[in-house]
Amino acid sequence: MAEKYTSKYVFPKTANLVLPLLVLLVIGGATYMPTVVGLGASPENIDVGYQPTQPVPYSHALHVGQLGLDCKYCHTTVDKAAFAAIPPTQTCMNCHTNVRKTVKDAGNNEVRNPKLAPVFESWETGKSIAWVKVHDLPDYSYFNHSAHVNKGVSCIECHGRVDHMGEDGVYQAKNLSMAWCLECHRSPEKALRPKDKVTDLAWTAEDLIKSEPGTESFDILKELQDKHQLKPDDQVTQQMLGEHLKKKYGIRDTQFMTSCSTCHR
């Protein structure tokens, strides 16, 4: 009888596992959920690699990488305004009135270049090309291109090797999160280079000793060599260059650079 009672009214031994399992579940859930949500919501995962399809299969790799166009040939306002303007159709037409206007089709007939069709259409109708914004900051952060470009922050710092991005379009290379912005705002010396090398995406501090006389970078090289008493073929490190340019370009102190009002209004 007694056994029967026990078997019916006493928890089985397996019930001992319920509590640890429950604890595990709670702890597991409590770590799993934030991890998933945190990683899922991280700009690293949401934004890096964002590559929308553009109306024109424009290749920076071709124009900048191979042909060597300067960034400022098209993005003219980058050192004058907050916004680095997309070039007007007219800029495209400066060359494409003549260059690659037509291609040969399968039957070897001259036809209009289909890749450039939206450009020609825009030029003929006066309607703008609707480029898709790739690097899209939230509206409450006010990034100013001119403030960076004029102080020797290269395009590459935020946009990556655009000169390697092909017909698939420009993609977002950096996560553009606030923590990422602050990395530089806390230690700007890591990202400063002579102003004349801002659009030279392949340039690094090691290339400074190769500077041509008469350029700004050459003057800076001389200043650094004097300051650090370097021999002509001694390498200049980014740290040395950055510290020097911080003073030369009047980069403000960390307190200013990390003030809320510097980027938010």
């Binding site: 949500v37 899922g40 919501a41 949401i46 934004d47 964002y50 929308p52 306002t77 050192d79 004058k80 305004a81 907050a82 916004f83 303007a85 997309i86 070039p87 007007p88 159709t89 007219q90 825009s122 030029w123 006066g126 309607k127 703008s128 090309i129 609707a130 480029w131 898709v132 914004k133 899209d136 939230p138 509206d139 409450y140 006010y142 100013n144 001119s146 403030a147 004029n150 102080k151 102003k195 370009y249 009047g250 403000r252 102190d253 307190q255 200013f256 003030s259 809320c260 009002s261 510097t262 938010h264 209004r265």
Partner: protein, 1091 residues
């Protein structure tokens, strides 16, 4: 006013903002003690369980929405022009000069456009009317500032509308309209135009009349200088315009003339007047202004000597002054005080002859205004402080509209074109313009081109949409005689015509016929542009005006200066003697009470009724928002048992010769006994185009009371009534005068802690000129004995940047501001400028009543009555007024920052107390801890909410706001440099951080590129929106690290003080004490008083 129930303040306070504050009612005490007086957590707590679960469910659902929001935000396009005009930089605002016409006079402007959208209006710094700070900046009026919102008003008329009877009408194409008209050109055409000085419109009127013989042109303005016109024509023998030069006037006398308020030349007056006040610091002298007036105006509030009186008494006082001047025989009927006031005034005038101005208001009779001209002549003012300019001989407006109505009633008009204006609403009631118009509409053709499909449009057969001044070409003459050009900032949003292009189109003119060029040559030319070019080719004497240097210069500058031609070749001395003095007689008064009509500081004559910024703007003097009311003195109110608290008031009925009006009464300090003021411009029945009867309706639909309903031809400005009758109804009124009352906090507690010698700092510091000259610390009394009360550790390590400069938050600049209470005239231009610059929403009347107006900048208006006890003070009809502009003072030691749990409000390195909207979680602790009460909380998504929509979620009305976005057209008006704040976020003045950043980035770029010698900004490189528009230069912003900046000098001046200095908040905004210059010094120096 109700009695002081607490019994604690028998004498009343020294400074107070509303009669209830003076009475120290429990409601006001509660308002002072709580930051959110109408917020009742109990209401939320007491919700039923079911309701609570609903809330909880809704919150969960919202949380779900937020989680799924973890994705990239919507795709954005960059749409660049196909070919960019030379010099254009996308994203950089451009400024163009233009002009805005009101009442027939131009206001010269400079408009900023952002990627083709006009977003901000400033005064033209080159034009003599608007130039401030020696031509560095330009001032603009509230109306000009708010006109941006009018342009982006989605309720503006968009099409031509045809109405058979008075109904909603049908949209018609322009072709249909013009063919309909030209098929039957009427032989008896009349044109009723609003007052305009536009050379192009006048030219088109002439051409139209030449084409259609028999066309008669009439002109009407509801708020008109008719009486002055008639008086000048009589006394000078020809119509003239008197242009006052207050910069040369030591004594300014105003008899009901609102020289600094609604006068067309007010901006110049205010600037010149304020310059003569600021000489108190430099030359130990100041001008003196006498104001005799029948209700409190902005001019009266800043007068050194003010005398409130009925219009009838004012007219007799003018005659008394004429008697002193030897122009009239002795006058009876005045009491001792009135005679003494005139004696005092005359003594000053006589001593300063040649450096005086005597001005009369539009409500005085022409004869009396003629006497004032004669007094000016006697005082050798004409030619010295008063310049005469030619004025067109037009006849008075009232004669013209009467003639038109007579002609309409007699069948003399079969086609009526009402060119702008809104006569059905604002014509004198006894003329029954609406009835006459209906009879013409029934038989003939009536056409009304106008910005809104308004009352008059609804009574006409045709309504034609008009283009806004920011969208079209035009011109007009400013009060000083310069001709201003108006150029489009944007293509018309809803198409439309200007008055000139409409007349041209009616006369069958096209761009080709006007220019004489072929169609393909004028592809880009609009009709309004073509007719303007035709007229300006005459003005500049150039055939191809568009490319002529003279026109290009005029377009760039915005105007061509007035030709220097006086009215006559007669010498000045002769003018002063040649004035023909009229004779004045007084008829027997018929009523016990005088009713005085007045143009409104926000609505003007009613044309701005659909402008939410102006509707919500607390009136310059009364501080009423979203309403008008009959202003009545406290003595009279008590007599009739009118009781007013800060939320509601009694309705009264006034009988004006058979026409009755029911209107809310508003007890106004400074209102003379026996005068009831009725502000014009409210109670519009058709202000916008949206379906009127629907919730929410249009912005201006039946806001306030239509006082035109009782205004008739024989009492345009002043009427007599037996007496007001209480109707027994109550009316809810939104007034901001008891909102955000500052009080020096916790006297008793402080004394317990630091002892008696800690004198409470007063909020208002003021002094008389004589006392100030004797002792420069006179305005501050004992405030310099203050022991600062430190509540928490200072958040910084002092490190002086320079001797005397701020010792923290000063790298590389130290921003600071000075607000001069001696110059502020309370005109509100800064409030609207701030609203336009910083995307500040409109909240609506119900929200204003709950203390929730969002204006970052408010103008506190303090009264100070004479008299020992409470009763004497409350019955004083001549209290002194001090305006104190108040906004975030950017404390270095900020109380708000100490209590924010998420560090959403913190300092930046230059001293800005920044507000980080994205960190804010809406606890509102900061607002609660702000002693200046300048923080504003977004209780709702006000930008997407319609201000007329009633919204109380806890009453079970569904939350529609999460779905709705901001109206597409309204969103165009946003300043893209400033974040649009959402619900649940605290906000406040940022010192226009966007302007600071633009200037400092640009200057530093120039320095890096070797175009500039120093990286720091110069003085006036950064100008806040409020400073830029202030006509009296009362607000100055700049760098306190720069020892030569204007703001540093003001901070170091003797008048500078910190409001609530005893709290050791170390505000970066210093206020400058007010200095009064009364004619006679008070016998005893004022007692030490604590507010």
């Amino acid at each position: 006013m109700n009695e002081d129930k607490t019994g604690s303040m028998k004498t009343g306070q020294t400074y107070w903002q509303s009669l209830n504050e003076l009475a120290n009612t429990p409601a006001v005490r509660a308002a002072i003690e709580t930051e959110f007086p109408t917020y009742d957590p109990g209401a939320m707590v007491n919700t039923s369980r079911r309701k609570f679960l609903q809330f909880a469910g809704a919150s969960m659902a919202l949380a779900g929405v937020t989680l799924t929001g973890c994705r990239r935000w919507p795709k954005e396009n960059v749409v660049e022009q196909t070919s960019r005009p030379q010099g254009r930089i996308p994203g950089v605002p451009e400024q163009y000069a233009t002009a805005f016409e009101i009442g027939g006079y131009a206001q010269p402007l400079l408009v900023s456009t952002y990627d083709g959208r006009p977003i901000k209006v400033e005064g033209n710094p080159m034009h003599p009317l608007s130039a401030t700070f020696g031509g560095k900046l330009g001032a603009a009026t509230v109306f000009a500032q708010a006109s941006i919102l009018e342009m982006y008003d989605p309720e503006r008329s968009r099409t031509i509308v045809y109405r058979k009877a008075v109904d909603r009408g049908e949209a018609r194409s322009p072709e249909a309209f013009f063919s309909a008209f030209q098929a039957k050109p009427g032989s008896k055409i009349a044109i009723l135009t609003e007052s305009t000085s536009s050379p192009t419109t006048r030219d088109q009127l002439k051409r139209f009349a030449a084409k259609f013989a028999g066309t008669k042109v009439y002109e009407y303005e509801a708020v008109s200088g008719d009486n002055q016109y008639a008086a000048d024509k009589q006394t000078f023998g020809q119509p003239v315009r008197q242009v006052f030069d207050l910069s040369k006037a030591q004594i300014v006398v105003s008899f009901d003339a609102d020289l600094l308020g609604l006068h067309p030349y007010a901006l110049r007056h205010a600037n010149d007047w304020s310059k003569k006040r600021k000489t108190a610091d430099t030359d130990k002298t100041m001008n003196r202004m006498y104001v005799v007036e029948s209700h409190l105006t902005t001019t009266g509030t800043v007068a050194d000597e003010r005398f409130p009186a009925t219009v009838r008494i004012i007219e007799q006082m003018v005659l008394q002054l004429a008697h002193k001047a030897g122009l009239e025989s002795a006058q009876g009927g005045l009491d001792e005080r009135q005679v003494a006031f005139i004696d005092k005034m005359w003594k000053d005038l006589e001593a300063n002859a040649g450096k005086v101005i005597v001005a009369g208001g539009p409500n005085l009779r022409p004869d009396v205004l003629g006497i004032i001209n004669a007094i000016n002549g006697k005082l050798r003012a004409i030619g010295a402080t008063i310049n005469l300019r030619p004025e067109p001989d037009r006849g008075t407006h009232i004669e013209q509209i009467r003639a038109l109505v007579d002609s309409m009633n007699a069948g003399g008009v079969d086609t009526l074109i009402i060119l702008g204006g809104n006569p059905v609403y604002d014509a004198p009631a006894d003329l029954n313009f609406g009835g006459a118009l209906a009879s013409v509409s029934g038989k003939g053709t009536t056409i009304h081109p106008s910005l809104y499909d308004n009352e008059t449009s609804h009574a006409c057969q045709w309504h034609v949409n008009r283009a806004h001044y920011l969208e079209s070409w035009g011109d007009s003459e400013s009060f000083d005689g310069s001709v201003c050009l108006q150029q489009p900032m944007i293509r018309p949003l809803f198409n439309g015509y200007t008055p000139a292009s409409f007349l041209a189109a009616m006369a069958g003119e096209t761009v080709e016929t006007v220019t004489g060029l072929k169609a393909d040559e004028v592809k880009e030319v609009a009709l309004d542009q073509a007719v303007l070019y035709r007229v300006w080719s005459g003005i500049t004497g150039e055939k191809f005006v568009a490319t002529s240097p003279a026109f290009r210069k005029a377009l760039h500058d915005g105007f061509i200066p007035a030709a220097k031609h006086p009215v006559d070749e007669i010498t000045r001395q002769d003018w002063n003697n040649a004035i023909k003095k009229p004779t004045v007689s007084f008829s027997q008064a018929t009523g016990e009470y005088e009713v005085r009509f007045a143009a409104d500081y926000s609505m003007y004559d009613g044309r701005f009724a659909n402008n939410g910024w102006l509707q919500e703007l607390p009136d310059a003097v009364t501080k009423i928002s979203w309403d008008n009311a009959a202003l009545i003195s406290h003595v009279d109110a008590e007599k009739f048992g009118i009781y007013q608290d800060d939320y509601s008031t009694d309705m009264i009925e006034l009988d004006l010769g058979g026409q009755k009006i029911q209107i809310a009464a508003y007890v106004m300090p400074g209102q003379p006994k026996g005068v009831i003021t009725l502000p014009l411009g409210f109670g519009r029945s058709r202000a916008g185009a949206i379906l009127l009867t629907e919730n929410p309706g249009s912005i201006g639909y039946q806001v306030g009371f239509n006082t035109y309903a009782v205004r008739s031809t024989n009492n345009l400005w002043v009427a007599n009534v037996a007496k007001p009758v209480k109707t027994g109804k109550r009316y809810q009124i939104a007034t901001t005068q008891t909102h955000h009352i500052i009080e020096p906090v916790g006297y008793e507690i402080r004394e317990d802690r630091v002892g008696k010698q800690s004198q409470g700092g007063k909020i208002v510091h003021e002094s008389t000129l004589a006392a100030y000259l004797q002792n420069a610390t006179a305005p501050h009394k004992k405030a310099h004995n203050l022991i600062p009360l430190q509540l928490f550790p200072e958040p910084y390590k002092p490190g002086a940047k320079r001797e005397g400069g701020p010792d923290a938050f000063n790298s590389p600049h130290a921003w600071g501001m000075a607000m001069d209470m001696n110059a502020c005239i309370g005109c509100n231009a800064c409030v609207v400028a701030c609203q336009a610059e910083n995307n500040i929403p409109i909240v609506g009347k119900d929200m204003v009543m709950m203390n929730r107006e969002m204006h970052w900048l408010r103008i506190d208006r303090y009264f100070k009555a004479s008299g020992e006890d409470y009763h004497a003070k409350i019955n004083d009809d001549n209290p002194q007024v001090t305006y104190q502009p108040m906004t975030c003072v950017h404390c270095e030691n900020a109380p708000c920052e100490q209590v924010c749990p998420v560090a959403a409000t913190v300092h930046d390195s230059e001293g800005l107390n920044t507000m980080v909207y994205n960190r804010c979680i809406g606890t509102r602790y900061c607002a609660n801890n702000c002693p200046y009460k300048i923080r504003k909380f977004n209780y709702l998504d006000y930008q997407s909410k319609h201000p007329r929509e009633h919204y109380f979620p806890w009453l079970g009305i569904p939350d529609t706001q999460q779905k709705e976005s901001v109206d597409k057209i309204r969103a165009l008006a946003f300043n893209p440099d400033v974040t649009v704040r959402m619900r649940g976020v605290m906000e406040k003045c940022t010192y226009c951080v966007q302007r600071i950043k633009h200037a400092s980035i640009d200057r530093r770029n120039e320095w890096v590129n070797g175009q500039r010698s120093k990286p720091e900004v110069d003085d006036f490189d950064v100008v806040t929106a409020c400073q830029e528009t202030c006509p009296t230069e009362a607000i100055v912003f700049g760098d306190l690290n720069d020892p030569n900046s204007a703001v540093t000098k003001l901070h170091q001046g003797a008048r500078a003080y910190q409001v609530l200095q005893e709290l050791n908040n170390r505000p970066r905004t210093h206020h400058l004490a007010k200095i009064r210059n009364p004619a006679e010094e008070p016998v005893a120096i004022e007692k030490e008083e604590v507010h």
